[in-house]
């Protein structure tokens, strides 16, 4: 994962910090401005839903697979919704193939929580036979190129892929699950939007690039739902925020979230 894993030379760092102290960023953006966001859906025909997201130079591909599955014993009347994310070793020069490290695990779990806690998908409607058969929805994400803010790019790809996903219609015949061949849309209720803000030397910046992440003290990710409520959060990295900074981050997340949600819904044909 990006932060700290390459050396940004002191000069560069000082320059970024100096610019920030004047409220400017090295790529010319405003402090609470998102990089260019491009979304392309229906890119993998073999998936039930898919989306390619570019957030600046960060590129992410999400694919949805929907099948029948068995529910967890403690939630017999809920379908399965599982988000996985892999930072491909090709995505940056300092990466190596191997099992996911703690950063990749945090990434997948935070994105998963953002989708799950917002109740974007009504998993209780994904039941074929209670306790026996449910729909299983796997969303897998490949991070293809890393340039900062993987949390948001991954989240946008997952949400966009889910918005475009169709489900095979399964029915129960004589206690056997049968695929009818029909397709149904996945029942989507809400569109949660993740927004990440970094604290660099006590200046907050939204959607940090990799060179900003390399010198950030801490980051916070806050998700909002369609009503502007906060629905998930995660502070990370070994620095801290003042309570006031967190309130500001929440305000930014609410404001920016509205715009991004609109763009994602349009890209997925939900506008």
């Amino acid at each position: 994962m990006p932060a700290k894993s390459f050396v940004v030379e002191t000069i560069k760092r000082n320059q970024i910090v100096e610019l920030l102290s004047k409220g400017k960023r090295s790529d010319g953006r405003g402090l609470s401005e998102l990089r260019k966001l491009e979304i392309k859906t229906h890119v993998i025909e073999k998936a039930n839903g898919s989306a390619m997201v570019k957030l600046g130079n960060t590129e992410v591909l999400a694919g949805v697979k929907i099948d029948k599955g068995t529910p967890f014993p403690d939630t017999p009347n809920k379908g399965l919704l599982i988000v996985g994310a892999e930072v491909l070793p090709m995505a940056a020069s300092y990466l190596e193939a191997g099992p996911p490290d703690e950063s990749a695990i945090e990434l997948a779990r935070v994105v998963d929580r953002g989708v799950r806690e917002s109740e974007m998908i009504d998993v209780s409607s994904l039941v074929i036979k209670e306790g026996k058969w449910v729909y299983s929805v796997f969303v897998d994400v490949n991070i293809l190129n890393v340039d900062g803010n993987l949390f948001d790019a991954t989240s946008y790809a997952v949400v966009s892929a889910l918005l475009t996903a169709w489900m095979p219609k399964f029915v129960l015949e004589n206690d056997v699950v049968k695929n009818t061949g029909e397709k149904m849309p996945l029942p989507v209720h809400k569109v949660p939007i993740s927004v990440t803000i970094a604290n660099i030397n006590n200046t907050l910046v939204l959607d940090p690039t990799e060179e900003e992440e390399a010198i950030m003290d801490a980051r916070i990710t806050l998700d909002t739902d369609d009503d502007g409520n906060l629905c998930a959060g995660q502070k990370g990295e070994p620095g801290s925020f003042t309570p006031e900074q967190i309130i500001t981050a929440a305000e930014w997340s609410i404001a920016r979230g509205k715009e991004i949600r609109q763009q994602i819904k349009e890209a997925a044909g939900h506008a």
Binding site: E117, N229, G233, G236, S240
Partner: protein, 247 residues
Amino acid sequence: MDENGIRTDGRRWDELRPLKIEVGVVKNADGSALIEWGKNKIIAAVYGPKEMHPKHLELADRAFLKCRYHMAPFSVDERKNPAPSRREIEISKVIREALQPALFLEDYPRTAIQIYVEVLQSDGGSRVAGITASALALADAGINMRDLVVGCAVGKVDGKIVLDLNDTEDKEGSGDLPYAFMPNLNQVTLLQMDGLFTFDEFKQALELAKVGGMKVYKLQREALLRKYFSGGGPETSTGSAEMMEEA
């Protein structure tokens, strides 16, 4: 919550569960603490500063901070497989990052400082309890600190923001917000959030977490005093966080 605002375990909305802390419980460790908070029973132990393994990961300008949060197989209702789960790996990371702001790691270049958090019995809020105990274990180990770190969670039950959820409330409630901060420096070092909070509820939750946390902080200081000033008890508790560095 009943009509009088009393929770299922009899607490008011802004009341902590019973909380007991003891410093210095693991003989071999350089520092340690046992916290019992509700039904949580958690030991935090610290080793270090010590030699870093593997050598090539040591940092020239500061100590390498490691943290392992782990749950005993018998700590939860259904036996837990002892191998570290993805949840435990994530929590290990956020606990480490919640404690690091309080540490003068630059005082110990090329060394490792290791924090172990073992959950012997789990209840709601085990990660904030683990942070609270770990801060004491670090102080007990004599690691130089800017401040203690206090963990405390708030949540949302029956549409109301309440302090310090227990297991049942966590499962049935509509929101949980684990929180940790440095009480004297007014810096938030951990924040996670599940569930649904309006912006106003969110602000209210942060306030309540701080108020609850200051009560925890008082108990933290008393626990340290009991260990380091043998006659010490609640009534003599006047120390501030600065004294940690002498401890």
